[in-house]
Structures are given as C-alpha cells and as structure tokens.
Symmetry: C2
Subunit: 343 residues, 2 copies
DNA sequence: GTTGGCACTCGCACTACTAGAGTGCTAACG
DNA sequence: CGTTAGCACTCTAGTAGTGCGAGTGCCAAC
C-alpha cells in the first residue's frame, strides 16, 4: 500500500481513538499537516474504504476504522511498539512495592495494565499442565474436622475440609500428613494414586492416610482439570466510561462474555502456543458478544510447564500501540518473577 | 395508618416492583380488586403522597414509591417474610452439593442469593476480630525462596513468600516452622510478638526463626487490620438488566460504590452489631452513588468472635419480602456451617 | 496527480402538534 | 361524611416537519 495512504489511515485511527468521533477530511489536514488538500485526502479516504479499512456510519459523516483497518494498523506497528523507559520504570516500581505474596502478582499485573491503559486489565495465574505436589499438611479444625492443605510446585494452594468418622488428635493428623507428604511430594496425580494403592491400610493411621489420600488425589485431579483457575480483572470501570458502552445492554453482553470461561480458555491456548503478544480485534472474536471489544494478550511463565496470561480488554477503539507495549512489558516482567520461583 | 391505605401502598409497591412503570389509580382497581372506585383510590394515593410515601415523576403520571414508602412497607412485612419451604429446600440442596472447601461457602451464599432473587448477591468471609494462629508451615520453593503458610483458627489461610539471605534446606525450614508453631499457635499477634522476643536468636535456626517470625507477625497484624478481607459478588449482570440502569453511567457509579470498602465496612459493623437482617434503602445509604440501590444484609458467624455478612444488592425497586426471606435463611444456614467449624 | 468548487446527502437539533394516560377537583349520591 | 362519576387540565412520548452544518463525491481546471 501507498506510504501516504498508510499514514492517513494511521492519522484516522489516531484521531478516532482519541475523540471517538468519525473523522473528516478537513479535520485531518487541519490537525495532521499532511501537505495536501482536503480533496486529495478525500480521494485517499475513498480508496481506503473500497479496500475495507475504513467505513462510513452514514453518507455525510466522517470515516471510522473497520476491524480490518485496526488489524492492518496493528500489524504495521506491533513490533515497534516498545514502552517508553519512563513508563517501564513506573511499572517496575509498582511491582517492587508489592509484598512478595505470590498469589498477588498476577492481580497486580491486571491492575497495572488497567491503570496504564485506562481500560480493563486481565490476568490469570500461571497454571501448570500437570500438577506437581510439593507439600501436604493437615490441620485440625475441630474434633472431627480437619483442613487439608496442598501446596503445588508453583506455590499455588488448595484447601479442602475433611470430615473424619471419629475424633482424631492433631498429632495423628501430623503423622498422616508426613506419610502422605512422602508419597505425594514431587508426584503428579497418576503417580501419586499408584503410590497410594501400595500403602498398608492397616491400623488407625493407615485408614486415615487412605481416607485423606483420596481427597488429595481428588483435589489434584481437580486442579489438573481446571483450565483457567481464575481470571482476575481490574479497571472494568474504565470500559464503562467508553462512549460506545453508554447503553448498558452492550456493556452487559461484554461482561457476560467475560464469564465465558470456555472462550477465554481457547484464547489462552492460542496465546500460550505462540508465545508473544496477540491482538484479537472485534469480530475476530468468535463469540458474538465480543464483537465490540478487542483483547491484547500475552503469555507468561515457563513454556510447556506453567503458563498464565496477562492482557487488556477494551473497545475496539483502543490505543493499540500503547496497549501492546505495556502488555509485552508486563509479560516479560512476570516471566522474570516466575523464573525466580520455578528455578 | 388506615388499613386500607396500607394495602393500597402495598399494591402500588407490588405493581411497581414487577412492572417498573408508575402505577395509576385505574390499574390498581383493575388488577387488585379493591372494591372501591378509582376516584377513591386517587384520594388515598394523594394522602399517601402528602405523607411522603409516594411520589409523582410528573403531574400526569402514576405514583411510584419513595424510599420512605419502601421503608414503611419493609417495616410492616419484614418479620413475617419467611421463605417458602420449597425454596428453602432448593437452597439447602445447593449447599449440600458443594465440596466442603470452607473458602467456597461464602461464595456459594452470594451465588445462591443472586440466583434466588435475580439481583446481585454479596458475601464476605467470616473474619475474626482478633486473629488466632492455628498453624504455621514453611515450604521451600527454591534455594533462597520459601513459602510461609499461616492457618488461622477459622480456617482462613495466608501465604507469604520469604526470601532468604542464604540457601536453606527444607529440613531446616521445617524445624523453624515447628519452633514458630510452638510459639505462635493459639496466640494473637501481640502475645506472639512478646513470645518471639524471648527466643534465643543464636545459631542459624535461631536467626531463621527470628527472620520468618517477623514476617508471621506482620502477616497476622495485616490480617487483624483488614476489616473486610474480601467482598465476593455474583449476579451483577442481573442488576445491569434493570431498566433503571439502562444508561451505564448510573451503573458505573454503583459499581464504583461497590469498591468503596470503607462504606461496606461501616455497613458490616452496623449489621454485625444488630445480629439480624438489615435493609438499607436508597438515600439511606450515605454515599451518593448508592442512592439508587438498596441492600439487604444479614450477619452470620459467632457474635464477638468471627463475623461475616451475606446479602443482596439491587435497585431500590426490589422484591423486599423475597429478598429479606432468602437473606435471613441463607444467614442461618451459614451460621450452622460456621458452628461446625468453630466448635 | 492535485486542487478548488459545488451540489448533494444525511444526521441532529429544534419546533409544533397530537394522543393518551392520569391526575385533581367538584358536585352529586347514599 | 365517605364515596363516586364526571370533567377539565397537565404533562409526556411519539411523530412530522424544518433548517443547519458537516462531510462527501464528483468534475473541471491547474
């Protein structure tokens, strides 16, 4: 495509993204010294429209970008969109502030992305393909109730309440925990299950181990089966402020779509597969409720072992270069953090 | 007040709650065989209006209840609003389904309340006034990184990452955990701190205990200081469907208000103090963003020890008797569940 | 290829009007 | 004296008509 056409497309997108108003030829020549007259610009705009990159809401209105227009724009700038050093520093600073509570990291990522882009930030915890148990602990809560705590290799926790058929002292629970720990630690659910079968089931402790062991296996299985453990989002209020969502029915559909874990899981898979920032624009999203929004997502974690996703969600009319830059940066930051844990 | 006036007020509210349209005198006589003419009803409506229980959007429109009208209505029915046995059974059934993961209970409460009332359900975990540590565990994550896990009496968990100045084996961490467990278990943060000071700081284990112990104290303090650990909400989509929130700016203010932890904390205190279902209608809520919504909240837990709140949030035009009934029932259900744990 | 000019289109804001719902008042009734 | 029928009055929502302005598309000239 023509270099000039390209820069005019860019100008239209830039203008429309910041004003949310269809942009006309005069506005372009006035605000972006293009060195040509509005008539020339009009010709080019018409060309861009037949190429499907721009549209008209109606005859006498300015142009707005189509999904294809955004796509072309994104392809042409995505590699070059590196976050300015100042913003990098600010984000780094925010990450430095937080206490080293691992479960907070991905939340912080979402919050940071939301604040930096003034749209919604999303993040999922890094979730391993195959769960590895690192530690098992059993804490007595009351006579016949105990809390079973399973720590996974990545630092994830699961807590399960276990009711006991008879009163059991903490001491016995601890002994059972030590035995289970020996069986399960470092194992996946399948390995652990086979190991559990070989356990001698005699005596009160044996019965206890067997009973609790089954719950452990079930919990690990459950953890394995969960594709997306949690999608943490922040800054949804920003999205509500966008004029395209002034009527709340559109908004409702987006929120409903966010609860569609199946689609998010699919996106996660695609993003994790490529390993870089991915942009999903408007109608490129399969669910019909998502046709008004775009997602910029990037994976983080250790490929093939534990992967999570960070990103942003906003109206298709979003500042893509900025979004891509921050998402890419935050994902590298998360990579560093996860590496420390998973070493 | 007149018995007839009261039943007409009731009819207006019932009608308006279900249709969201201002109700006129004719509609009332047509749909609620009152045995009097529309003219008589008009007189009574006018009376109710001078008493401040109803209003006019404009001269030629029907009546809508004021906040005071809803309040009067709620006061007159709140005691008698017991949930039908069928619905009680359905809710009980839902609670029976769930795995006994304690952290899920309050979430389930919110979900159940949302589904039963088709508005937003809210729930906070039962949080003790003074934290009591039940168990401390330390799990090695990598050479110089460990995960500190604190279990509180009510089954709540805190996980904190601890960086170590030098590589430490799991064995040493376990020994440190046992020592800390001995010091802290059953203690509040103040007690534990004094106990920690008396620990002999010599030797590598002593240093480790001291180092991690400080983090434990900090975490317990933090847990103590948190008024509301988490507000889980579900069914916000229902609220978005209400016609009063068709324009999303109103919606935005409500969502923003939900993030106002200070106010929610204040409400929680008031609700926990009284021990029964409390209704906060529209402008009775202090924050100006809350003037379009009502909350029906009830405490659960053990008075004076650990208290949480369950309830619903919806437009002031909500089915109060139904809401009060379900909230009361769910709170008693939660009481039973908590009692088992906290015995 | 670019530009100025110009007719044309269409949404938006404004006004005017009507229909309908619902009130408030008054006078009559039991 | 409470209740009722009747009726004038009020106000909104919806519809139709109008002018304005932004912006286009095209054409002829440069």
């Amino acid at each position: 495509m023509d270099h000039r056409s390209e820069s005019i497309l860019r100008a239209v997108i830039e203008e429309y993204v910041s004003t949310a108003v269809p942009v006309g030829s005069q506005a372009l020549v006035a605000r972006y010294g293009l060195g040509v007259s509005s008539a020339t610009v009009r010709n080019i705009l018409a060309d861009l429209e037949v190429n499907g990159l721009l549209t008209h809401p109606h005859t006498s209105a300015g142009r707005i970008p189509t999904d294809a227009g955004y796509r072309y724009f994104v392809e042409s700038v995505s590699d070059s969109s590196v976050l300015p050093a100042v913003e990098q520093l600010m984000i780094r600073h925010q990450f430095g502030q937080v206490q080293h509570a691992s479960e907070q990291w991905f939340r912080l990522a979402a919050t940071t992305l939301a604040a930096a882009n003034r749209i919604a930030g999303l993040a999922t915890p890094a979730k391993p393909r195959a769960a590895h148990v690192r530690r098992i602990d059993i804490v007595s809560i009351s006579d016949r109730l105990a809390s079973l705590i399973i720590v996974f290799r990545e630092g994830a926790l699961r807590q399960v309440l276990v009711t006991l058929p008879e009163a059991v002292e903490q001491e016995a629970l601890t002994r059972a925990a030590v035995i289970l720990d020996g069986i399960m630690a470092g194992r996946t659910s399948g390995d652990a299950e086979r190991a559990l079968e070989r356990i001698d089931g005699d005596g009160p402790i044996g019965t206890l181990v067997r009973r609790v062991g089954e719950r452990v296996i079930a919990a690990v299985r459950d953890y394995d089966a969960t594709i997306i453990e949690e999608v943490f989002s922040d800054g949804l209020l920003h999205v509500m402020e966008a004029p395209e969502f002034e009527r709340s029915d559109k908004l409702r559909r987006v929120f409903a779509a966010l609860e569609n874990r199946a689609y998010l899981g699919e996106l996660l898979d695609r993003v994790a597969g490529t390993g870089t920032v991915q942009v999903f624009i408007g109608a490129e999203n399969a669910p019909e409720e998502m046709r008004d929004v775009s997602l910029v997502l990037a994976p983080y974690g250790v490929p093939g072992r534990a992967v999570g996703v960070v990103g942003v969600l906003g109206p298709t009319r979003m500042a893509y270069p900025q979004a891509i830059g921050t998402v890419r940066f935050v994902s590298t930051l998360m990579n560093e953090l996860v590496k420390h844990i998973d070493a």
